[in-house]
């Protein structure tokens, strides 16, 4: 049963990650070619098509290989080694394919020089921040409540404590009782919820990737940015709900107040998975990267400033502009937004959250062994 579920998970994961990477050229902004701004005309040239065809060929081979590896390696109880290996293989192969396409695309780039920058002065549409703020507040409160709840019951908990649960919700792994083994999950609830809703908030205010088109890209960008922010906020809410209930009920299992985790948690987990996958697919199909699908009639107008300036992008994926006060900017290759690595405050904040998440993961592994 568990093997079948893991194989299905493998299939869905490879199809989602691999499919998204493979079909990326279909949702990319016109004028951008594998992390390089080449302009609308050159992005439709024969050379550009050849680069894209090579990407498709390599991508299909990568997906087939990842599926075969995942299937052959299978799984061990508690650690889906096949899924893990196929994910790594997918990411590594697509990175190599990307770098090859990026280097070829660089030959099509126009001579370097500062592109025009544009902004609207009238009809200033301010983003609606109500939802991300509400989720940020809710996840912070929920996280703190769960931590307090667990701390209050720490002394009453037995040794060892259950730290792993099977698909049926029955505990199937125990660890020596320690602050780490008990507290990682509640702290993770707080950190994950705050991180996701914080990113949703920053996304709502992210830099726009505008065109010299008389405003169509501004409208498209605003709609895309709001949709992306909503998606992340709802994801934050679902993740907080799942982790908070998991924290509370696993304490109750440890105390003998209930025998298994409630089935509803599995349902929320499934809902998160489906929402994350289907939501991303919907955003990609409906809006395209940066809302580019909404602006198609004006898609040939030149891009401006950040997105158009090849000198500011390292390897086509890292935006480094100390002049630009933006925290998040639109990806040139990828979906959604990326960090302005030239903004020290943005980098420090994200590094702190990343360190907290990695530290918690390491703490969880150390505590359970």
């Amino acid at each position: 049963m568990e093997r079948t579920i893991l194989n299905m998970y493998l299939l869905v994961e490879v199809a989602t990650i691999g499919g998204f990477m493979l079909l990326y050229p279909r949702i990319a902004r016109k004028g951008l070619l594998f992390g390089v701004y080449v302009g609308a005309e050159r992005s439709q040239s024969e050379e550009a098509r050849a680069i894209t065809r090579a990407w498709y060929r390599g991508g299909i081979a990568t997906i087939a290989l990842a599926l075969a590896v995942g299937w052959l390696l299978g799984s061990r109880p508690g650690f889906p080694v096949g899924t893990f290996a196929s994910t790594l293989l997918l990411l590594a192969s697509f990175s190599v394919l990307y770098l090859r396409a990026y280097r070829r695309a660089q030959r099509l780039a126009p001579p370097p020089g500062p592109p025009l920058a544009v902004a609207a002065i009238d009809a200033v549409p301010e983003p609606n921040l109500a939802l991300p703020w509400a989720v940020l507040l809710a996840s912070a409160v929920a996280g703190v409540c769960v931590i307090v709840y667990t701390v209050n019951r720490f002394d009453a908990m037995p040794d060892p404590v259950p730290t792993h649960f099977g698909i049926s919700g029955q505990p199937d792994g125990w660890s020596k009782k320690s602050v780490g083994a008990v507290m990682v999950l509640p702290i993770m609830t707080l950190v994950m919820g705050v991180t996701l809703s914080g990113v949703a908030l920053l996304t709502a205010k992210a830099k726009r990737g505008l065109r010299l088109d008389g405003g169509a890209s501004l409208v498209a960008q605003n709609r895309y940015r709001s949709a992306m922010s909503r998606y992340l906020a709802i994801l934050g809410l679902l993740v907080t709900t799942m982790l908070a209930s998991l924290s509370v009920t696993s304490v109750q299992v440890a105390l003998g107040q209930r025998r298994t985790l409630p089935g509803a948690i599995m349902l929320v987990g499934l809902a998160i998975f489906l929402f994350a996958m289907l939501g991303a697919a919907w955003l990609a199909i409906r809006y395209g990267q940066g809302g580019s699908r909404l602006e198609n009639p004006q898609g040939d107008a030149p891009l401006t400033d950040g997105l158009a300036d090849n000198r500011l992008w390292k390897l086509g994926v890292f935006y480094v502009n100390p002049e630009d006060p933006s925290w998040l900017v639109e990806h040139r290759f990828g979906f959604g937004y990326t960090l302005n690595f030239g903004n020290p405050r943005a980098v420090a904040t994200f590094a702190a959250f990343l360190a907290a998440l990695l530290g918690l993961a390491a703490w969880a592994i150390v505590s359970s062994t």
């Binding site: 025009l116 544009v118 902004a119 609207a120 002065i121 505008l210 630009d324 933006s326």
Partner: protein, 132 residues
């Protein structure tokens, strides 16, 4: 639908803050931006243009000094009501114009020539307004 109201060209010799201030001034002078109309915050404009916050703040300060915009803490930046550009301000500007004309007369330019220069400058201002 919004038009592009500010276009910054970093390869032109004109400083970026002056480009921003000139274009906003032209929109206000052309009547596209009415008194009381909100302008984007310093951060929004700097983020969209990818320029330093101080650059936009300097442009807005220059516009405020000229009586074109009013910067009021939380409520942000708005096009100034005509009153603030009126009376004292107008007299002051007339004084400066008279000074400039006096300098030109002193340099030997005839009144007819001064009129031609003034007409040319007014026409250039109108072209600037149309361009934006």
């Amino acid at each position: 639908m919004a038009r592009w109201n500010v276009v910054v060209d970093r390869s032109s010799g004109e400083p970026v803050y002056a480009q921003i201030a000139r274009q906003v001034r032209a929109r206000i002078a052309g009547g596209d931006l009415k008194p009381g109309a909100p302008l984007p915050s310093v951060r929004t404009l700097a983020t969209d243009l990818g320029v330093n916050l101080n650059t936009v703040a300097r442009a807005y300060r220059q516009l405020e000094d000229g009586g074109f915009v009013a910067i009021a803490g939380r409520s942000g930046v708005r096009v100034a009501p005509p009153a603030s550009a009126a009376a004292a301000k107008r007299n002051d500007l007339r004084e400066r114009l008279r000074d400039a004309l006096a300098h030109l007369r002193q340099a030997g330019l005839a009144p007819k020539e001064l009129e031609r220069i003034a007409s040319k400058e007014i026409a250039a201002l109108a072209r600037d307004e149309e361009g934006r």
